[in-house]
């Protein structure tokens, strides 16, 4: 049994309401929900979830209901997200899986770190086109003709390092949006953004940028 399966089983058994959870084979576990129904979840240790990897898991486990990128660093390609959503497979981190187990809704389960923020963006009427490149990076084209590549920064308090690391990993962005409502970027994070050429903002500033005063 792999390390991530062990952690996931322990985490689910202690933190989610379920009857049982057990390893089946490879990266798959079977969960019996509290209502008695059974689902299969894949617990992946991949650093990057690509379309190809998601599709391969689906070939290996056609009945899978959830694909979990267990590592905190796991990055989801936009293509992988579209693949699982088209196949009505839930996706996200361990917390997202735990939430799906609680609710029993796997079809609509999404990465909980980005779910609310991205839904907010989808609802903005000033956006004419939205392209999700990664779980945390999208390009929004506005009706006024402007276009911005935006990075969603989940850190409680984004630091200089988190902005620089994000830039190095995903390439240039116009906006680093701190989506965690409970914190604010440090002054050094804002300065680093200015050095790199991106604004480090909270929701109110992003809304102003989009022209939704």
């Amino acid at each position: 049994m792999t390390w991530q399966i062990k952690f996931a089983l322990e985490y689910l058994q202690k933190n989610a309401r379920l009857n049982s959870a057990e390893h089946i084979r490879d990266d798959a576990i079977k969960i019996e929900l509290h209502d008695g129904s059974e689902v299969i979840a894949i617990i992946s240790a991949a650093y990057k979830m690509t379309t190809e990897l998601a599709a391969q898991y689906h070939v290996d486990f056609p009945d899978m209901s959830f694909l979990c990128g267990y590592r905190k660093e796991c990055i989801w390609d936009g293509g992988a997200i579209r693949y699982v959503q088209e196949k009505q497979i839930g996706w996200g981190n361990a917390g997202s899986l735990s939430d799906a187990v609680e609710s029993g809704d796997f079809i609509n389960a999404e990465h909980k770190l980005y779910f609310f923020s991205y839904r907010l963006i989808r609802q903005m009427r000033s956006i004419s086109n939205l392209d999700r490149e990664y779980d945390r990076v999208f390009t929004m084209s506005l009706k006024n003709g402007n276009s911005y590549r935006v990075g969603m920064i989940m850190e409680y308090e984004p630091t200089a390092d988190s902005i620089r690391t994000f830039w190095d990993q995903f390439g240039p962005i116009d906006v680093a949006w701190n989506i965690n409502p409970n914190g604010s970027p440090t002054q050094q994070a804002i300065n680093t953004g200015q050095e790199l050429g991106c604004k480090v903002v909270k929701w109110e500033e992003l809304k102003q940028l989009m022209g939704n005063h």
Binding site: K14, N15, A94, S98, T159, D161, Q187
Partner: protein, 107 residues
């Protein structure tokens, strides 16, 4: 693996950590969380890059969530005290105490 064991393991696996202050915070200190929240405070640049490589290797089979802060950021945010962070050194002492109690049969 519990928080004190993880702290001890990372301290011994990452020599560059001696130039930083490392802490653990969050739910993994008290129960089984989905990951271990770690705060590392120290310089940026090459030393930090080296430390990241070591942490990545050490954490290849652990769910680590590492936040790196400059000393002035730690001060600005008062993160250590606000999030009730516990230093790796203190966690290791705790680990040693537990081990001692276990080996001597003290509950």
């Amino acid at each position: 693996m519990k928080a004190p064991e993880v702290a001890k393991y990372i301290l011994t696996s990452c020599p560059t950590l001696s130039e930083f202050h490392a802490y653990m915070f969050g739910s993994s200190l008290v129960s089984t969380g989905s990951d271990f929240d770690i705060l590392i405070v120290g310089p940026s640049g090459d030393t930090l890059s080296q430390l990241k490589l070591e942490i990545r290797a050490a954490g290849s089979m652990l769910p680590l969530d590492v936040l790196y802060m400059l000393p002035e950021e730690a001060e600005e945010t008062n993160f250590v005290s606000r999030k009730k962070c516990i230093s790796f050194e203190n966690l290791c002492k705790l680990n040693n105490d537990i081990t001692k109690k276990c080996s001597t049969g003290v509950a």
